[in-house]
C-alpha cells in the first residue's frame, strides 16, 4: 500500500515546458530522493493549467497551493519547507499588490472562468487513463451506448445549441444529421487538430492535457452518425499532442473502449492518428481530407459537402477538437445545463488563447457572452507595463481587429461577425499603443500570402497585391488611392475565393482600415508612424546640447553612421542609419530619441543660419 500524502501537479503544457518544467521535474525528483520522501510524494505531469505567463507553475495537494515561476534554485527550499515541514512558501505564490493568493480558487485569473472543455486540463495526468476515468471519464460513452439511440444523441446535442468551435460556428447537430442521413456502411469521423493561427494553442492544450476526453467525444459523435473509424488529423508541429493521443488510443484499446462490441453493444470503433505537414489551409475540411488521403492539401468546391462525400468519397464528419471536448459533459449534464451558459445564439463556453501585451497571458475558458472588457481586464489582468489598450485581434489571420469602443461587445459568433471580427478558433491577441496597425495588418497578411495554397487566383494574386501595397505604405511610399484599392481588392478576394482561407484573409486589413483609417492616412500622407514601428517612418536624433560626447553610440552603431568627437559631440548621418535603436539603448544619459516621421533632410535650417550671418 502507498504512503503517498502529497500530489505535486506540475504543469507540462508547452508553455511551462519551454519555461523549464521538465528540468524542474528532474530536480524535484532528485531532491525528494535525497530526503527520502519518494514514498510519500507523487510528482505528476499534467496538461496546461492556463496562466502561461506564470510558468513554470505547479499545484501541491492536499492543500491545493498554487506556485508560479518556480525556478531550479527554489526546489531545495520547496522540498525542505513545504513537502517536508508543511510550510507553504509565500514568495512563490501569486501576489497582486500586497494580496497573496495561496490556492487556485482565489487567483483572479480563474475567477470568471467556467471550465467545461478544459475541466481536467492541469488536474489529471493525461497519460493515465485511470485518472480520466476517475473524473467520470467514459461514463458518457457508456450512457450513450447502453441507453440511447443515435437519433437521441443528435437530439440532445441539438437541444444544447452546441456550435462548431473551429471558427465558423456551424450548428454541430445539423452537421451530424447530414452524415447520419446518409445510407452508407462506411462513414468516417475526423478530429480536426490542424490548428494554425499564429498565437492560438487551444486545441494543442486540449489534446495534450486531456486526450481521452477528445477520444471519448469522437466516439460519441461516431456512434451518433454511424461511423466505425476515426482519424485524428494533427499537425506535425504538435509532437506532444500526437504522442498523448496515441497513448490514449493504446490505453483505451486495452480497457476495451476501442474495439468490437463496446459496452456490449453493436458499436465497434477504431481510431488512428494522421499527422499534417503544417499547411495552414489543411485546417479547411476539404483540404484536410485531401491531405488525409495522401494528396496535396488543396480545398475543393462544396457541395458536395464532406458529410455527403468526404474521405474516400464516403460520408465524413469533421469536427474541431474543442467541439468534441464538449460532448461528454453535455451527455452527462444534459442539454439544459449547457444551454444555460452563454447567449441567445451562442451557447456554452469558449476556450481562448490570450496572448499579446497582457499581464496574464494563457489559456482560458469563459462563458459565451462575456464582454471583451472582462476578458481583457479581469481574466487577462489588463495591459502590461501600465500601457494603454489599443486593439484586439480576434480569430487570427482570418479575424479582424477591434478597438476600445468595442470593449463592451459580448463575445458570441454573431456580435463579433457584425463588428468585422470573428470568433475563429479562439486566438485573442491584445495590443497596446506601441503597436502600429498597418504593420499588424501586414503581419497577418504576410502569413496568409505564405499559406495560400495557390488554387484560386484572387487569393494567390490578390493577397500578394494587397501585401505589396501595405509594404509600400509602411515604407513611406503610399499613394492617396491605396486605401480604396486595398478595400476593393479585399472585397474581391473575399467574394471570389473558394475556401475559408481566401474568404477571410483580407479581414485584418479591412477591419484595421475600418477602425484605424487615420493611422493609415498618417502613413500615406504625412509619412509618419505614430507608434514608431515602421523603420522607414521614424528617425533618431541626438540632443547635442546634452550629449556627453562619450562616443559609446558611435562605437556600438552597426552601420558606423554616428560621427563626432568628445569636443564636437556626436550626430547621426541619417542617410546611413539602419534604425536599429542600438544607440538609444546604449546611451548612458538617454539623450538619443526615436522620433516619428522621416528625417527632414532639406538643409533649410542650416542655410538659414548662414543666411542670417550674411545679413
Amino acid at each position: 500500500m502507498s504512503l503517498k500524502r502529497t500530489d505535486v501537479l506540475l504543469c507540462c503544457g508547452s508553455g511551462c515546458v519551454s519555461a523549464g518544467a521538465l528540468k524542474l521535474k528532474e530536480k524535484l525528483l532528485q531532491e525528494i530522493v535525497k530526503r527520502g520522501l519518494s514514498d510519500e510524494i507523487n510528482i505528476i505531469e499534467t496538461g496546461c493549467m492556463g496562466p502561461c505567463d506564470y510558468g513554470p507553475v505547479m499545484m501541491v495537494y492536499p492543500e491545493g497551493v498554487f506556485y508560479k515561476k518556480v525556478a531550479l534554485t527554489d526546489v531545495e527550499e520547496l522540498v525542505e519547507e513545504h513537502f517536508m515541514k508543511g510550510r507553504p512558501i509565500k514568495r512563490l505564490m501569486v501576489q497582486e499588490s500586497e494580496e497573496v493568493y495561496p490556492t487556485k480558487k482565489e487567483i483572479p485569473f480563474y475567477q470568471l472562468q467556467e471550465k467545461v472543455a478544459l475541466k481536467n486540463c492541469g488536474l489529471i495526468n493525461p497519460e493515465k487513463i485511470e485518472e480520466y476515468i476517475a473524473t467520470g471519464g467514459y461514463e458518457a460513452l457508456g450512457k450513450v451506448l447502453t441507453e440511447m439511440k443515435p437519433a437521441d444523441v443528435i437530439q440532445i446535442i441539438k437541444d444544447s445549441g452546441l456550435r462548431g468551435r473551429g471558427g465558423a460556428g456551424f450548428p454541430t447537430a445539423m452537421k451530424w444529421k447530414f452524415v447520419y442521413d446518409q445510407k452508407n456502411d462506411e462513414k468516417y469521423v475526423i478530429c480536426n487538430g490542424d490548428e494554425g493561427d499564429p498565437g492560438a494553442f487551444m486545441d494543442r492544450s486540449l489534446l495534450e492535457g486531456d486526450p481521452h476526453k477528445i477520444l471519448e467525444g469522437m466516439m460519441i459523435a461516431a456512434y451518433a452518425v454511424g461511423a466505425k473509424k476515426g482519424f485524428f488529423y494533427i499537425r506535425a508541429e504538435y509532437p506532444l499532442a500526437i504522442k498523448r493521443i496515441k497513448i490514449a488510443i493504446e490505453q483505451s484499446k486495452k480497457y476495451g473502449f476501442l474495439g468490437e462490441a463496446i459496452f456490449d453493444s453493436d458499436f465497434a470503433f477504431d481510431a488512428e492518428v494522421r499527422t499534417g505537414a503544417g499547411a495552414f489551409v489543411c485546417g479547411e475540411e476539404t483540404a484536410l481530407i485531401a491531405s488525409l488521403e495522401g494528396k496535396r492539401g488543396h480545398p475543393v468546391l462544396k457541395p458536395p459537402y464532406p458529410a455527403i462525400s468526404g474521405l474516400w468519397n464516403k460520408p465524413t464528419l469533421v469536427n474541431n477538437v474543442e467541439t468534441l471536448a464538449n460532448l461528454s459533459a453535455i451527455i452527462i449534464n444534459g442539454a439544459d445545463w449547457f444551454s444555460k451558459m452563454g447567449t441567445e445564439t451562442s451557447k456554452g463556453t469558449k476556450v481562448f488563447a490570450l496572448t499579446g501585451d497582457l499581464n496574464n497571458t494563457g489559456l482560458v475558458e469563459v462563458p459565451m457572452g462575456i464582454t471583451l472588457k472582462d476578458l481583457i481586464y479581469k481574466v487577462g489582468g489588463g495591459i502590461s507595463e501600465g500601457k494603454k489598450f489599443k486593439a484586439v485581434q480576434l480569430g487570427g489571420p482570418s479575424g479582424g481587429c477591434l478597438m476600445d469602443e468595442h470593449l463592451s461587445v459580448q463575445i458570441d459568433y454573431e456580435s463579433l461577425q457584425q463588428k468585422g471580427a470573428m470568433m475563429g478558433s479562439g486566438g485573442v491577441i491584445v495590443m497596446d499603443d506601441s503597436n502600429c496597425m498597418v504593420n499588424v495588418a501586414k503581419f497577418f497578411l504576410e502569413f496568409s500570402v505564405e499559406e495560400s495554397c495557390g488554387k484560386c487566383t484572387p487569393c494567390r494574386v490578390g493577397l500578394r497585391e494587397m501585401y505589396l501595397i501595405l509594404d509600400r505604405i509602411t515604407k513611406g511610399e503610399g499613394k492617396p488611392e491605396d486605401l480604396d484599392k486595398l478595400e476593393k481588392l479585399g472585397k474581391t478576394v473575399k467574394e471570389l475565393s473558394l475556401c475559408g482561407l481566401g474568404q477571410s484573409a483580407p479581414n485584418p486589413v479591412l477591419s484595421t482600415i475600418r477602425y484605424f483609417r487615420k493611422e493609415y492616412e498618417e502613413h500615406i500622407f504625412n509619412k509618419r508612424c505614430e507608434a514608431k514601428v515602421c523603420p522607414d517612418l521614424v528617425h533618431f536624433l541626438i540632443d547635442k546640447d546634452k550629449c556627453l560626447g562619450c562616443g559609446l553610440c558611435a562605437q556600438k552603431c552597426p552601420a558606423k553612421c554616428i560621427i563626432g568627437s568628445r569636443e564636437e559631440k556626436y550626430e547621426i548621418v541619417q542617410t546611413d542609419c539602419v534604425k536599429c535603436s542600438t544607440c538609444v539603448e546604449v546611451c548612458p544619459v538617454n539623450v538619443i530619441e526615436k522620433l516619428s516621421g522621416q528625417f527632414d533632410a532639406s538643409p533649410k535650417q542650416e542655410f538659414k543660419k548662414y543666411a542670417d550671418l550674411y545679413e
Binding site: T6, D7, P62, E131, G137, D264
Partner: protein
Amino acid sequence: MKTLEELRKIREKAQNEMKMRNSESRVKVVVGMGTSGIALGARDVMKAILDEVSNRKLTDVLVTQTGEKGLSSMEPVVDVIEKGKPKITYGNVTPENARKIVVEHIVNGKVVSDLVVATKND
C-alpha cells in the same frame, strides 16, 4: 469494457488514488513538522500514520503536515480535525501511539484521552 458497473468499479479505485486532489475528507490529521518535531521523531510518527491509514484503506482521511506549533516540549504533536467536532491535539506521540490514535480515534471514534494535550473549538 462491457458494462457501466465495470466502469464504475474502475472509477472508484482510481478516485481513491487521487483523493488528495479532492478537498472533501472526513478527517484531517496534521502532524507538526517543525525542527523540534522532526528532531523528536515526527517523521516516523507521520510514516506510521500514513502506513496505518493506507493499510486500513481509510479513503476519507487526509494526512498532512504543518510547521512548528509552539508546543516544543510536547513534540511530536498531532492534530486530529473532524468536521463539526473540536480539534483534538495529541502530544508526545510515538509511532506506536500514532497507530493507536488512528485505530481508536479515527476508526472507532473514541478520543485517546491520556495523550490529549489540548482541545479547541473552532
